[in-house]
């Protein structure tokens, strides 16, 4: 498994206190993007300005791969979003990866996950678009027009 995919699994696994441990694809995308921006990681996902802000199609590929391997699972919601959560098998594998991971990376994963999960959908978009406007240029949402 590539290093970037291991980090994706770590993000989905690492629990945040008092928060349900599952993430929507947009939350995952934004969290991985923040990691890339704030840690300047090598062997990581490349992001492009997409219709909903920063996006990497490779993350979708790896999410499907983790799902096929039985390491993560999806939960449908009434709004149509599909949330990702870790499976029992995934927990075992993720713990192994975390044992080999740099402490700075783990702390950053926890920090961005906490940040992303604490924000509403609109707050999260605003947070990303305001800090990284070059990645918002193709977005279908003009966040400035929504107060």
């Amino acid at each position: 498994m590539k290093k970037r995919e291991k980090r994706l699994l770590e993000l989905i696994y690492l629990p945040i206190e008092a928060v349900k441990n599952m993430m929507s694809p947009i939350q995952i995308m934004k969290a991985m993007f923040l990691m890339k921006q704030e840690l300047n990681l090598s062997e990581f996902y490349e992001f492009k300005p997409y219709l909903y802000g920063p996006c990497s199609f490779d993350i979708y590929f790896d999410l499907s791969d983790l799902d096929k391997k039985g390491l993560i699972d999806t939960i449908p919601t009434l709004q149509g979003w599909k949330y990702y959560k870790i499976t029992e098998k995934g927990k075992i594998v993720a713990k192994e990866f975390i044992g080999e991971e740099d402490r700075i990376v783990i702390d950053k994963i926890l920090e961005v996950k906490k940040k992303v999960l604490s924000k509403s959908f609109l707050e999260l978009l605003r947070y990303i678009y305001e800090r990284y406007p070059e990645y918002a240029k193709n977005s279908i949402i003009n966040i400035g027009a929504i107060k």
Partner: protein, 246 residues
Amino acid sequence: MTLIVALACKDGIVMASDGQATGGSAGGPVRMSIQKIFQINEHVLFGASGDIGTIQRSKTIISSLSQELNKEWDFGLMEKVRTSLFGVYKNEIDRHRAFYKGTPQEDIRNAPIADVLLCNFLRREDKQQKIIWHIAPDCSDEMLDEIGYGCSGSGDVFAYTLLKNYPVKELSVERGKLVAYRVIKEAIEIGAYGLGEPIDIWVITEEGSNQLCEEEIMALDDTYKMWKEMEREVFKRIFSGDYETI
């Protein structure tokens, strides 16, 4: 049931379809996944609804003209396509009538048909050709690029209802993909019998034609959900009288 849409965007054409076919079996109708849009050449895409065999024959005929269709289209070439297809369709109707003569199935409305959408986007030097060509089962035809979109299949009413809301011709191909995705997705969700996933999307731009990969379809699905999320937000504010915060 099938739904195929073609959008004439600012910088190219987007074609999208549902991915389900209903076939016959000894035990009754069966559902199966099927591709409904095909690349004829670098600049031309073919999509059709109707009976699988007639669609296949239509595709074979159009593919045999692939090289000619790779150049600028003119009246002569388009007549050649239409005449060739007419031969097939008329033959199908004649065969159907002969076979079912004297039975309740004789009506030609029961004959196998194909309803074709042929799209062309070509930009060479200072010339540009953007065509959405609809060829009906009786081989009457119409150019739909002027309207901005074309639909084929018995699910088309869903598409027309949704597409009338969007300024398709002003959209870039990137945004056109999202509109096309939404139209097909909502037609499937509304529960039209016989429409189903996977959604297939193709584009023709200056760089040529290509099919969207699975990951891009997943990204479009998330963008579609985000779009709906925003609509819910706006709707909530309008109905609470909170206009000023939009």
